[in-house]
């Protein structure tokens, strides 16, 4: 029943968002039907489109799950962006110099990238643990440091002199992550991470404690949960996931090198996805896929119609507002209706 309700709310709000956007497209003298058809064709319409959508969605799923686990545990990790970049730059640099066989190198590089992200989040974890510094502010600030630190690395010590923009050298070809029919292995890693995260949150004792901390930290503390060490673990783990997203972007993506702007908006999109998914890991995965469709379809839409791809950012924002708004509206009105019928009943009984 709960699941059904949540799916229904999501569908209703997404449809509402599409209708609102259709009206806006109309006022700009374009055809909404054409726009949506293009979105569909290039986002889902064929295997090529679909596999490309899944590849686009992969980093979003990582950062989304990272944010969802953190928020659900009452840990405000907003540092996905910086953690992702640190993971990416570490993997990119090691990928140039490391000299081991492919079957070993790819997992090692991925995991090392993940640890780089965890280490970056670990700074915030340490500040929180020893100086009670709010991770909200420290992870946020580490984003900026991470951003410019990685650009520095790509601009000076590890600059590829042949590149036109600040970028590191291409990683060794043996470390390119394989794909099946266009679908990169990174996506399967994302599915594995989804299963692992779901298991951690729902089944393990530590996951239970973490969720209770998210609901009510005083309750958890007094109940005997290891609040401090769980918070540290969650920060490190979610940092790892973001770092892994960065590593896979280098190993699996299209560029295979670290360049300025590679992090795009993955970090913040992940935070946004986690929020609309109500910090639920499974929902985060599906919203990640959905935003992947939009991002991927946007390229085709720009190609076929006169609507620019920036329009998708607009559509995303409308969807976020619609989901969150619909959720509270349904809650509010269903309660109002129920209390009104109850009032009628009570008065009639008198």
């Amino acid at each position: 029943m709960r699941v059904f309700r949540r799916v229904a709310i999501s569908i209703i709000s997404i449809l509402t968002a599409f209708v609102v956007c259709a009206i806006l497209i109309r006022t700009q003298k374009s055809s909404p039907i054409e726009v949506y058809r293009a979105l569909y064709t290039y986002g889902l319409g064929s295997w090529a489109a679909f596999s490309s959508t899944l590849n686009t969605a992969t980093p979003l799923i990582f950062t989304g799950i990272s944010a969802a686990i953190a928020f659900a545990s009452g840990v405000v990790n907003l540092g996905q962006h910086g953690q992702l970049l640190m993971g990416a730059v570490t993997t990119a640099i090691l990928g140039v110099y490391l000299n081991i066989p492919s079957w070993l190198g790819i997992p090692v590089l991925a995991v090392v990238g993940g640890f780089a992200g965890a280490l970056w989040a670990g700074i915030a974890a340490m500040l929180k643990r020893h100086y009670e510094m709010d991770e909200f502010i420290s992870t946020l600030m580490l984003n900026f440091i991470g951003e410019y630190f990685t650009i520095y690395l790509a601009t000076y010590p590890f600059l590829d002199r042949k590149a036109y923009v600040p970028a590191t050298r291409l990683i060794k070809r043996v470390y390119f992550m394989p794909d099946f029919n266009g679908l990169n292995v990174a996506f399967f890693v994302a599915v594995f991470v989804l299963v692992l995260s779901f298991w951690y949150m729902k089944m393990t004792r530590q996951g239970y404690e973490s969720r209770m901390m998210g609901y009510n930290v005083e309750f958890a503390r007094v109940g005997g949960c290891a609040v401090e060490s769980n918070s540290t673990f969650v920060l490190l783990f979610t940092g790892f996931l973001s770092g892994l997203a960065g590593a896979l972007l280098i190993l699996g993506g299209t560029q295979h090198r670290f360049m300025k702007g590679i992090g795009a908006n993955f970090g913040w999109d992940g935070v946004m996805i986690a929020i609309i998914a109500n910090n639920n890991v499974i929902e985060t995965f599906f919203y990640g896929l959905f935003f992947g469709i939009l991002k991927n379809g946007a390229i085709g839409m720009e190609f076929e119609t006169s609507v620019p791809s920036e329009f998708i950012l607009f559509l995303e924002a409308i969807i976020v507002l619609c989901v969150v708004g619909t959720r509270s509206a349904i809650e509010y009105y269903s309660q109002a209706i129920r209390s009104l019928t109850k009032l009628r009943k009570v008065v009639a009984e008198k």
């Binding site: 393990t204 239970y208 009510n216 007094v222 005997g224």
Partner: protein
Amino acid sequence: MTKIYKIYPPNVVALSGVDLSLDKGEIHSVIGENGAGKSTLMKILYGMIKPSSGEIMVNGQRVQITSPLEAIKLGIGMVHQEFMLIPSFHVYENVILGQEKSIAGFIKKKQAANHVQEIIDRYGFKIDSNKLVSQLSVAAQQKVEIIKQLYRKADILILDEPTAVLTPQESDELFEQIIELKRQGKTIVFISHKLDEVLKISDRITVLRKGQKIATVENKNISAAELAKMMIGRPLSYQIKKSQSKPKREILSVENLSVRSRKSDKEILSDVNIYVRNGEVVGIAGIEGNGQYELVQCIIGKIKPDSGRIVINNADVTALSIRERRRIISYVPQDRKYVGLALKATILENLIMTHHLKKEFHKGFLSLNWKKAKSHAKDVTKQFEVIYRDLDEQPMVLSGGNQQKVVVAREFSLGSDLIVLDQPTRGLDIASTEYIHRLILEMRNADKGILLVSADLDELMQLSDRLYVIRDGRIVAHFDPNEVDAHTVGTYMLGAAG
């Protein structure tokens, strides 16, 4: 007020067709159990919440009271259970706040203070309007609240459970004050669930039960037993019988415990020594804010004491974390909504907290045994008579009594030798209170050691085998409750004794 209905969304019926009429210059008591709708009715009269239907007439005029401001204009004032005063302001500043008279934005402080003092003297209060509120006792702060309403020219004064925070002596003084107010033509609405007080001062009494008005009676030839029957729908069978306790060994001992506040550098607890033995209930009496909360926090490990030791079952636990201590302590916190429960988690998840540390709830290296968790939840909800629809629901939908039963079920089923109870029955209806009292005695008879902190002196007198009185962070007395009466304990709470 006629035919007042109030439904709290989604479907909680708080009031169902309640009528209430107030005559000028009377003391009208509204009584009922917790959850009977007293507070809701008063909040409607004071414009704090909107009724679902019904009408209100003041002096023959139909009115819509949409905000407290509106209520004040109509001469209706309310003194809440929680005071709304600014401690660092003077008495007169608190009184005039929101209604200050100013010239070009400047307040004539002297004039205001004099004006407030005039009101204080006219109604016979003994308070200096130039004192800081933080220097006043709780009882005096309550008077400031009343003066505040008088300054706003309230003719109808609603006092919401004013004696809940007072000692017996302070209550008596308040009653004299109330009668004085009545003599000067004010109408007083007195909310309470303490029947003896109601009988002492009211002219008329309205009884509410489960959101319905049962009756309005004149305070003549009516007994407490009759009122109680109207209030709970059946005669009060409330008699606690217990055998003499036969303690053999010490379960908890607190030795020379001191805690200094980091902020004010004041001693919150100084040199506290108490002990709890098996098979006895040990009460801690005291006016709220005298250190009993901090004492409990020290015992469960949330506050690290500056000096002293805490020994449980002959093991020094002073250096242990909350997690380690909770394996040997059952603890019912005073605030069930914010500490006792996670209202947004499921009932099941609430019931297994702390139990999840135990081996039998483990599965494999990391996992929680959810099957065991479910069977445990089913067992304890049955054993402790928790009424719920589905274990996957949130405790938010349960009534206060059932919420507390969830907490108690969880804690009492832990099986620890030491049970620490901080205000276990605060805000509960009579039936639930009675039930929890019975459980406490059952635990006592099962040879547990129980530490009971409560603001309800009657509860302490009835349940405790021994009673400590705490004042200003010091244990000032240690009684056998059979040998003293509530008034004597009250004197120690106030610090008026020798």
